[in-house]
Symmetry: C2
Subunit: 375 residues, 2 copies
């Protein structure tokens, strides 16, 4: 539903990069394309650009709608728009689909010019560091020397952190929402079960399912169902679904019985029709690998010595995937380096998914922070 502050109709753009890029996995990517969308206007000083990085299942389409499709609102439409917390009347906002994605940027489902076939399993495992490198190239392409802000939630927040480490002069503010400085064993465990569900699906074909005209749908569906459980809070699931039965009585069978089963299966089915399985593997791998403290002997404070940006770090009380303690660890490391950091733990019942939701307290904090940014 379009609101008066909505971006309105938008259209993505594609840029091609033909300069070879050295990836963290040791290989070179000769050329690639990135699809991106922009909202608002870049000012003359080119000082009002805000890069928004997406998370596991997100993409470049942050806000607004596509023609004739009222259900095509961007994933952060509630945050970005004219007069919204990330105000497109002030900022030039950019969303980009990361390398390896399945929404238009070069990824496993793209044709590899060298072979004439889909990259499939040959697509390199990419990291958050690689993504930031590609985002820098996009910034150069758009003539942006320095972002007023780089923002993101979850894996998007990790990219914002990486920007402050790798390109400290090119980002003035970092909004790091529902993120973490590294994944725990439990986080990795959930990701690996999701990956194994996809990889052991008989229709996976080692990642080359495109050649067989099939999709490892069962595995992708399971991965999404499992992901959803980790994105929701225990309390919210209890409040929204509880032990409610779909059909009013027990059926003593294995079809949908409880409402929560219906919901999860619906989410899984919808996702399996829309998302690429290889991309899912790559995105979870990037999550698992992100660990800026690692090369500093696991000292996160040491890792942030290079940073200069100002930070807004936000966590949500019921997020058990990336709990508030994960954000506090980031904040401590930033404070150890005497960086400017604003931090809040927002009371929310929506678990990890909170960063995508409308929440008065949350949106006011972001608005206030963005309002304080000088462009």
């Amino acid at each position: 539903m379009q609101d008066s502050n909505s971006i309105g109709i938008v259209e993505p753009q594609i840029v091609r990069f033909d300069t070879p890029m050295h990836l963290k996995n040791g290989t070179v990517l000769d050329s690639y394309e990135l699809v991106y969308e922009t909202y608002g206007e870049l000012n003359t000083a080119r000082s009002n650009a805000v890069l928004v990085c997406h998370a596991l299942s997100g993409n470049h389409h942050l806000a607004g709608f596509y023609p004739d499709n009222p259900k095509s609102g961007g994933w952060w439409n509630n945050m970005i728009g004219a007069g919204k917390s990330i105000d497109t009347q002030k900022f030039f906002v950019i969303g980009v689909n990361n390398l390896g994605g399945c929404h238009g940027s070069t990824g496993p489902a793209s044709i590899n010019a060298k072979t004439g076939k889909c990259y499939g399993p040959d697509f390199p495992v990419v990291t958050v560091e690689d993504w930031v490198q590609t985002q820098v190239r996009l910034a150069d392409h758009l003539g942006i020397d320095q972002f007023a802000a780089v923002a993101g939630g979850s894996l998007g927040g990790m990219q914002a952190l990486q920007w402050t480490l790798d390109f400290p002069d090119r980002v003035r503010h970092a909004l790091v929402i529902a993120a973490a400085a590294k994944l725990t064993a439990q986080n990795i465990a959930f990701n690996d079960v999701a990956r194994q569900a996809i990889i052991t699906d008989q229709d996976f074909y080692g990642g080359d399912y495109y050649s067989h005209g099939v999709v490892p749908r069962r595995g992708l569906r399971l991965a999404r169902m499992l992901g959803h459980i980790t994105y929701l809070s225990d309390d919210a699931m209890a409040a929204k679904f509880g032990r409610e039965l779909r059909n009013g009585s027990l059926a003593f069978g294995f079809d949908v019985e409880f409402e929560i089963e219906s919901y999860l299966r619906y989410q899984g089915d919808k996702f399996a029709d829309q998302f690429d399985a290889n991309t899912y593997l790559l995105m979870t791998k990037a999550l698992d690998y992100f660990d800026p403290a690692y090369q500093h002997n696991n000292d996160l404070s040491a890792a942030f010595r290079a940073a200069k940006a100002n930070f807004l770090v936000l966590s949500f009380t019921t997020d058990w995937r990336f709990s508030p303690e994960r954000s506090r660890a980031i904040v401590r490391a930033l404070l150890d380096n005497e960086l400017n950091v604003s931090y809040a733990e927002i009371t929310s019942s929506h678990g990890h998914d909170s960063f995508l939701m409308e929440d008065r307290h949350y949106h006011r904090l972001v608005r206030a922070y963005m309002d304080s940014i000088v462009v």
Copy 2:
């Protein structure tokens, strides 16, 4: 490894029941067999019998070893034995494999006399109430009018609760460990993802995989991997595995990289070779269905009006599958009925699996409680 207090060599027994049994799903099971093991001696007064009920992946083999197999220790070997917390020098302890199981009792893998083929998907969905009915028949078979105690952890604890509700005169003490009065939406969600992993495995064949000479191994493996994550505590996983790499460096691929991945895949593989997929479906269904308060308008206190037993209720701090709050809800309902209840929340890092572990505080509490039982 055999310890001096071990039961030593044991052997299971089978009893056949030919009296038709009316199940909660509305069908009748004409006949079935139960495999069970006993430890210790039944006294003359038949007043020292203790029934131990197994959980999702457990069975009748509680303690002791099978001949020539030093790795065949029962799942509660650390709890049951001569001089152990459940002392077989005092008690006659019985373990039974529940109906629907895959360790010798009639279940989906058993031959249905009517068809000459495995029951497979035709095996009825059984409930905790059904199991207690079969356990009563076993008690009758053994000439036991009243159990000194019925004990169990997790799903086993639910059976102990059910005993006190359905046969209040036939159980003097109930040990209810790491249990819950009903599953939450999140609990059901995890079970349903596990079931869907099995059911959507191409080798499941609607449950009739026996006819095809295959096993839905991939799905069963995923189910176990997922289950394991829920049985372990976040902290214990972090302490035991952290972000340790199996091979010392990142490989930028999808084979095992992190130690936690290696561990989970190993557990999954091991389980998939040993457990029946249909049984897994049935066990998780029984977990989902258990809800004694339901027919009392969700009033657990009202549900326990019928109970007369004495209770020991135990929970573990890091159990996030059945958290201590679940046990406290049970305790409150028992206290509302002025029943004798001893309760302790035991500090443990082992999560839901704690009920299977050796823990000094835990085992002392059980020992003290069992010692206080008059036989």
